[in-house]
Amino acid sequence: MMKLSAGDKFLQVIIYATLLLLGFITLYPFWNSLVISFNMGSDTALGGITFWPRSPTLDNYEVVFRDSRIGHAFLISIMRTIVGTTLSVMFTAILAYGLSRHELMGRKIYMVFCIITMYFSGGLIPTFLLLREFGMMDTFWVLVIPGMISVYNMIIFRTFFLGLPAGLVESARIDGCNHIGVLTRIILPISGPVVATLSLFTAVYHWNDWFSASIYINNPDLIPIQTLLKQILNSNIVTDQLQKAIGSSAAAQDRLALVQSVTSKSLIMATTMVATLPIIMVYPFLQKYFVKGVLIGSLKE
């Protein structure tokens, strides 16, 4: 490395400073929300809470966890994520394997049929009405089925399968293995990174999606956590939540004291943290894989 000139040094200083500021701006909202969620609501209302809780407490989380709706919505989200990801990755991989076989008749037509859907779609209203006519409103399946086959993921899978040595499949076929056997016993075990990448991406999508539940689901028992959080954010469900926490207990007086220190703001922040937690937990794994995933995706041309 050569010695830096004065101009280069100046540039370096500016870049380090800018990036530090960017990093701070990115993390601060997250950190501040976390702090508020662990601070007494009545104390937060006095102002000045920034980097550290002034009166640390778990009361906010206690109220959140006592609310059965939040627990239930959390479970729905988990179920949706597991079922949705499994089905989607499984069926997309099967399709991609089929389309990666050179001997498949009509391969080109099938591919065009798939790719057209990446550029054209019916749009929100026709899709909504169609699913409604199918009677899928207010079912768990409306969250899982419509996105089951992802053409985008199929292309990534297929590109990967096409890159595997052809002899691998041929020798297994000669040994009398059927195609499903080839896929599950030979192809998938060596496709670990791709399966992991696509599973993580699909799982994050399912966990984060709040919109489809907000239009397809009215039944409060089927609302996922993100949709519930959205409802909490722009309504006064929170007051209702507080009343529930008071009313549902025999030791109401006791509970009242707890509830008085909790405000809607502190509750919202605690709920937000609960909804974010799973993402933070898988983030290290995500990070390991997604750079690869993004690059495969953008090289599909």
Binding site: I15, L19, T26, A45, L124
Partner: protein, 317 residues
């Protein structure tokens, strides 16, 4: 495949019919056909359903038995007072996102590339990707809390700097909305979008930099004369995509950030308008017409952008 067919032909004496060959590979066909039927039902039927924009869609009649009304809903949309507001917002928000949101990740990638301390670089990268994986609901919660009049951090900062004496209710002032929307979008996606550019930069031949620095070019000159020209094709491809998407001004972000109806004048874009008219007000055909209008214009724009890019020497297809 050619050879295989010849061998079979010779063995049997006459070529196998299409059907016979098809049935011999029934197992792979079976892996593909159910998925095709699925795609037909969930992607192609809604495309057919778009025709409802030319109907008066009735719930009991469905797509097949609703009366045809021609261009009635398109005329209603073009003549409605909402049309110009919606178009203005769509175009202004898109252009803001394009002009500010598009260069931001490129700039970030260029800056990250200048960092020699690997640990620092990795930490900043890790932090910058994180918001991409949070849902808009959560981001909306953060923005609401940051900008809140009830001791939100931004208002606390502004007040301690004496830039304002009263807390500002940022999310209910129409003048601030576009800035907040574009800023939040950059905050959420900049780090993730930078990945592609970083990869492109990593692919540049290091000899180019060595030669340039022997010739006396400083880092700034090197960025200008080597890095940027080398990643130009990647930038152009993403620019075409961005121009083609210009009518996708936003959807989730606007639904989340513009909850206050006061903002409707500046926040309503085509997609949110379709949502509001169709899903919330049950004007299905009218909303579908607005959506179809958008889709047609978008495809035209994409084709135009691609044509322009082809003149510059790269193309999407």
């Amino acid at each position: 495949m050619e050879i295989e067919r010849k061998v079979i032909t010779r063995a049997k004496g006459k070529p196998l019919s299409w059907w016979t060959r098809w049935f011999r590979q029934w197992d792979i066909q079976l892996m593909v056909i159910p998925a095709m039927m699925f795609i037909f039902v969930f992607s192609y039927l809604p495309m057919y359903g778009v025709l409802m924009a030319f109907q008066d869609y009735q719930l009991f009649g469905g797509f097949f038995h609703s009366p045809w009304v021609g261009l009635k809903h398109f005329e209603a949309f073009f003549n409605s007072p909402d049309f110009w507001t919606v178009m203005r917002n769509t175009i202004v928000i898109s252009l803001l996102k394009l002009c500010i949101g598009f260069p931001a990740p490129i700039l970030l990638a260029l800056m990250l590339n200048e960092i020699r301390l690997m640990l620092f670089k990795r930490i900043i990268q890790t932090v910058s990707y994180l918001p991409h994986f949070l849902s808009w609901v959560i981001v909306g919660g953060f923005v609401g809390s940051m900008l809140s009049t009830d001791n939100g951090s931004v208002n606390m900062l502004l007040m301690s700097l004496h830039l304002t004496s009263e807390p500002i209710s940022f999310l209910s002032v129409p003048e601030y909305f576009w800035g907040i929307l574009v800023g939040t979008g950059i905050w959420k996606e900049m780090g993730f979008a930078a990945i592609v550019y970083l990869a492109a930069i990593a692919g540049i031949d290091p000899h180019l930099y060595e030669a340039a620095s022997i010739d006396g070019a400083g880092r700034f000159k090197q960025i200008q004369l080597i890095t940027l020209p080398c990643i130009r094709p990647v930038i152009i491809i993403f620019l075409i995509l961005a121009v083609g998407n210009i009518l996708n001004a936003g959807f989730e972000d606007i639904l989340i950030l513009a909850t206050n109806p006061i903002l409707r004048d500046v926040s309503d874009v085509i997609d949110t308008y379709v949502y509001r008219m169709g899903i919330l007000n049950n004007r299905f055909s009218y909303a579908a017409a607005a959506g179809l209008f958008k889709a047609v214009v978008s495809i035209g724009l994409l084709a135009l952008a691609n044509k322009a890019a082809r003149k510059m020497g790269s193309s999407l297809w």
